[in-house]
Symmetry: C2
């Protein structure tokens, strides 16, 4: 059964009860600041851990019924304003021909990282419609989640940026020094471009399939753009993000209308270039002052973020105070989606995550001076 | 024998043959851009490795004759424009009462990190004049190095910033998540202030002793300021750096006149505050565009940096091209000290480090349009 086309034709989509994130992404008025949490479906949730006792990480990613179940868990538990589909950015390189494995303590990794030009040449574009060896499980999980949520909150699809995927494909796993990645771009730029071009085509196909399956927003994660010099970031990361966005925009009317969020860590040097990349929302890490970046590009795009995830390890009083600081740093008016400045840490107390969501809802209503409940 | 006072009275100091770094630090005219390399005395040098076959790391730090020997090695081998004293930032907490150990693969660490308020209370100010249990070995090594160099190049003293030292004292060693450090500042700010105040007094005493012993410049390393939010950086790191600087400036005429360099990684958000902190030179990491920071604060302080250390793992052609990019990003005029954007990596080929120094000397003369050899 093709969930994407048969179960959820466009005309049967549930009207969204809560579209705060969509409005904030478009810088339209909101009653309060919407909030979700990067990696909100995951290890810190007991109900996620329970599902994981029966199934390994990759099987969970690749089984739409289960992926949808854990995707919805934080909506039920925390009351977040969006569901982000449970998946992993590394499923794309796997569907391009790489061998993905999982180390239970360190997460997914590649047993045979890219080494030669031939390794890069061998990579193929992913088949986003195929169940076996393709990426169909993600659009299917999105369609199913849309159906299961019945319009409660929007669903966010996502992918890694070409550069960030390339780093994992070259290094094998989370790198310490990024030596192999930097050697590739500095010593073999032709190979680097070839790889990044293939990746931008692949990521665009994947995001388009997620949008066609019903994703209301999509987010691109550029976790490793910030390890580059400003010049190298623009040349090897942002350039290909722009390429992905253009391809998605040109893919269909829905591709053109779906808000795109870019999370990029440590790229304080390129606000202007990011604002011009075609994205709708820039998701910033906790080392960036929201007010500063808003003053610079906030009239053109919305912002997402940016509480230090470690604050969720402190006390209720500190969490509320730090939430207020983030709200104040953005200031009054729309165009802000509250989030952490990076993914939630695995050992975060669930009650602190819940407190964060409640605090944003309550404090932002007070801060924006609206008594209206949404 | 008190090397500081007896061997090197102020009046007998050698006149500097090469004072390019001092002039650049004061934004005075230079014939070419001066260059040195953070961690230039260290593991990548075969002559350093040779010394280390006979002596362990801490004994090397604490034996002025040997510390001076490895301090001068890169001046001989690479032709850098300054010698930075061989030492480790963690000798300060050790002299405050902590137990410093060395793991040969990971470097120095504390076996009993600070846990309680009582742990912080027990810390005492270091004795900078005592050989046993104090820090006298560093000023002694500086005096000896001044004598051995006979004015060939200036000598740089250094210390960790209060915040960066606090991180190591709380975490024990290089941290992965900085959880304990952030829990301290968010959950127990009074303890954090007490610790940082003790550290700023200690660091100021230590830097003053180095200046009195003959250091021509001093550098403060704030490696971990950038893991904080902008507000937390200013409150828990920069504030105490400012305190250190004020104490050093007030300590003596020489303390007031000696250029102070601040290396701070990832603090792109606080240029203005850094320029107002009392430092002379801001040493920036490779993710910051030199031209951008110069346009913002370059009329008030000099800049140091900022080649990505990983570039030294590429090819001669790439190294020369990237050196040119850094020179161009700073632009014409004085006020630039060339350096890496972080410490040189342990497995860097020596010939690439030498090439870097030669390239800066040659290219900067061409770039600045001077044919004069200095």
């Amino acid at each position: 059964m093709n969930l994407t086309e048969d179960v959820l034709p466009r005309t049967l989509q549930h009207r969204l009860e809560n579209d705060l994130i969509l409005r904030a992404a478009r810088r339209q008025p909101v009653e309060r600041t919407p909030v979700w949490i990067m990696r909100q479906a995951g290890r810190y949730l007991p109900e996620y851990q329970k599902v994981r006792t029966h199934v390994d990480f990759l099987t969970l990613c690749k089984t739409p019924e289960l992926a949808s179940e854990v995707t919805i868990q934080p909506v039920d538990r925390l009351g977040v304003d969006a569901a982000i589909i449970f998946s992993d950015i590394l499923v794309v390189p796997e569907a391009m021909g790489m061998n993905l494995a999982v180390d239970e303590s360190k997460g997914p990794f590649f047993q045979s990282p890219l080494r030669s030009s031939a390794d890069i040449e061998r990579l193929h574009l992913p088949n986003v419609e195929s169940i076996h060896g393709g990426l169909r499980f993600v659009p299917d999980a999105i369609s199913l989640t849309k159906r299961n949520l019945q319009g409660r909150v929007p669903v966010i699809g996502f992918a890694g940026s070409p550069w960030t995927l390339a780093v994992y494909m070259i290094e094998g796993q989370t790198p310490a020094t990024f030596r192999a990645s930097k050697e590739l771009i500095y010593n073999r730029p032709i190979d680097a471009y070839r790889l990044l071009e293939k990746l931008s085509q692949s990521v665009a196909l994947f995001l388009t399939a997620q949008i066609e399956a019903g994703a209301d927003l999509v987010q691109i994660f550029d976790t490793w753009g910030g390890i580059l010099s400003p010049v190298a970031f623009r040349e090897f990361s942002l350039r290909f993000i722009r390429d992905v966005i253009q391809r998605v925009r040109e893919s269909s009317k829905r591709g053109d209308e779906t808000p795109i969020i870019l999370f990029a860590k440590g790229v304080h040097h390129s606000f202007e270039e990011i604002a011009n990349s075609g994205i709708d929302v820039f998701s910033v890490d906790w080392t960036i002052d929201l007010g500063h970046v808003r003053a610079s590009i906030g009239s053109r795009i919305a912002l997402q973020g940016n509480l230090d995830p470690m604050v969720l390890h402190t006390s209720p009083e500190v969490i509320v105070a730090e939430v207020e600081k983030v709200l104040r740093s953005f200031g009054k008016g729309s165009g802000h989606i509250f989030n952490l400045g990076h993914g939630i840490l695995p050992d975060t107390p669930v009650e602190h995550a819940k407190l964060l969501v409640d605090a944003v809802k309550e404090e932002s209503r007070i801060f924006h001076g609206t008594g209206v409940h949404s």
